[in-house]
Symmetry: C2
Subunit: 336 residues, 2 copies
């Protein structure tokens, strides 16, 4: 094992032709090569177990056929779905993907991007929230074609994502349609765009139903089940008359289910709960969670095709659709 891999020259020597000729037939370019030599070359390549050297090719062509992903916390379920979609699409297009996962520390994301730039990736897909407020990082990213799922300060970068306002609106409309008037919400960290967009959707659905949004019914948390759990406890202590709850992601919604269970409040009997994301796992929470489906894998695929699409010129902004998935945590079907 681990013997020196065969090179073009090895194949050439075995065939008795120049290595440039071997190069031509092996990359299948429609060049002028006689069928006879083509066949002989192919044979020796197979016999030698020739595996093309992509790094040499990359140097010669000035293109690595690789993209980089700079992710926030890869362990996040939504993000890993995104990566799956991105990897699938990249491979379909013959590109490799270099992955980096940036922890919270200040310059970690920048270090990731720099590593990717050294590797001369053809483009970068960014899925790191820190991007929204880090201008230096944003500047780094402009050195290479980039598509982000977060707004990048300073522009010049394509955006792809789902419609966050619609997400907030659909969930809230569903709750309101079921007759709820005291609808609380648990948001993510307030400085995030997705948070204000979903909150905007929440408020507009309330207002459309003639309900004045009540600031006392809004609690911020940190996207985690534990955060959702604590936020729910605070919320119900402050406003015991709440009958419905929209959590800005499924994990916090699960924390809410857990908190309500502990408080002895039945779901959906006493309090209806809606989440969003549609993690696979929420089909079997107790009770099964009504939520908004967000197409993470499709988003990843779309990000890559946007990045690699040949005709692409100026930065674009793509919004993918979301939809309500009714299960048990809000009670009955959709209102009329």
């Amino acid at each position: 094992m681990t013997a020196r891999p065969a090179t073009l020259k090895d194949v050439a020597a075995r065939t008795g032709v120049s290595f440039q000729t071997v190069s031509k037939v092996l990359k299948g370019s429609p060049v002028n090569v006689s069928e006879a030599t083509r066949a002989r070359v192919l044979d020796s390549a197979r016999e030698l177990g020739y595996v093309p050297n992509a790094v040499a090719r990359g140097l010669a062509t000035q293109s690595t056929s690789a993209i980089g992903i700079v992710a926030g916390d890869l362990a996040d379920w939504a993000l890993s779905q995104f990566v799956v979609g991105a990897e699938r699409e990249a491979r379909r297009r013959g590109h490799a993907v270099l992955i980096t996962s940036a922890r919270g520390e200040p310059d970690d994301a920048a270090a990731c991007v720099r590593a990717l730039l050294e590797r001369r990736v053809d483009g970068i897909v960014a899925a790191a929230p820190q991007l929204e407020h880090d201008c230096e990082l944003a500047q780094l990213l402009r050195a290479v074609p980039t598509v982000s799922i977060h707004h990048v300060p300073g522009g010049g970068v394509s955006l792809v994502g789902s419609d966050h306002r619609l997400t907030g609106r659909l969930a809230t409309e569903h709750l309101v349609g079921l007759g709820h008037r005291r609808v609380a919400t648990i948001t993510g960290p307030p400085d995030r765009r997705v948070v204000s967009s979903r909150a905007h959707g929440y408020r507009s659905a309330l207002e459309a139903a003639g309900i004045e949004p009540d600031p006392a019914l809004v609690e911020a948390a940190d996207w985690t089940p534990e955060g959702g759990y604590q936020a729910t406890l605070r919320l119900l202590a402050r406003a015991p008359d709440v009958t419905a709850l929209f959590a800005q992601n499924d994990l916090m919604a699960m924390g809410a289910l857990s908190a309500l269970h502990r408080l002895g409040r039945a779901v959906p009997g006493d309090v209806a709960v809606a989440g969003c994301d549609d993690l696979p796992v929420v089909v079997h929470t107790v009770p099964a969670l009504t939520t908004i489906h967000v197409p993470f894998a499709e988003t990843g695929a779309r990000a890559v095709s946007l990045l690699l699409e040949p005709g692409r010129r100026r930065p674009e902004c793509v919004l993918l659709p979301v939809e309500l998935v009714v299960r048990d945590s809000c009670g009955g079907g959709v209102a009329p």
Copy 2:
């Protein structure tokens, strides 16, 4: 943006030295270069925004400082934890990571490995269950240093993982210690090694307590919540006297909680449920799940350090410890 990046020659020209000299100072090798020129070189490099070209370096040094990961389904939570740990360790050691996610189709994993070999990665970390039964794949992998979390037919590959027998034993002992005699188990697909190991642990714990394992109390599923849900339904229809249940992963345990809820069986009052993996989310299932903690991220980190550790010669086998985490789904604390 996207201007041609500066090269060593650019920096050399601006400094007024040969590009080889620039190379020496820039890679910080402790070479003989006067402090004066060193400083000047560093200055021009900074002014030009020089970013070393890792692909050229890779060609010259015959080493890419990159490793590849071939993963099964990256969307799997445990696997993404593993990847996080691996990426962290790789970057700490100055290595990039190329990621590939193999779908189920027959030759997909092989295509992933081939892509990695073309890229000339320094080594591969394998986390793809298909490896256990695919000898061709295994053969491919032997072309480059590899560490796997699955047994690879034919040997020659290092293994790292957790102690699956212990996992099965700890969970079952806990249940038995609580006084249960009719302890069922939901396993993963029977052809997987981890499945037989955890089942072995389950049986040995039973036998140690003088309980004859009952084949009627074993159901196989597919690791998913839905699979666990259906398996639980089958199990309880067949053996209504079951009072405890050990699921071979947390997702299936969640499906079990959901099924028991639907059947109107209280957890842990009527049936105790234990899982394993310790997904972050199970802190807030209803009720909170008692489970076995499996150190996925540490496993990933260990796999990479095993791969990259200089002194490494012959294949090794590393088993990481697991431990019981008691929450609410089995009732009371640990038995005496």
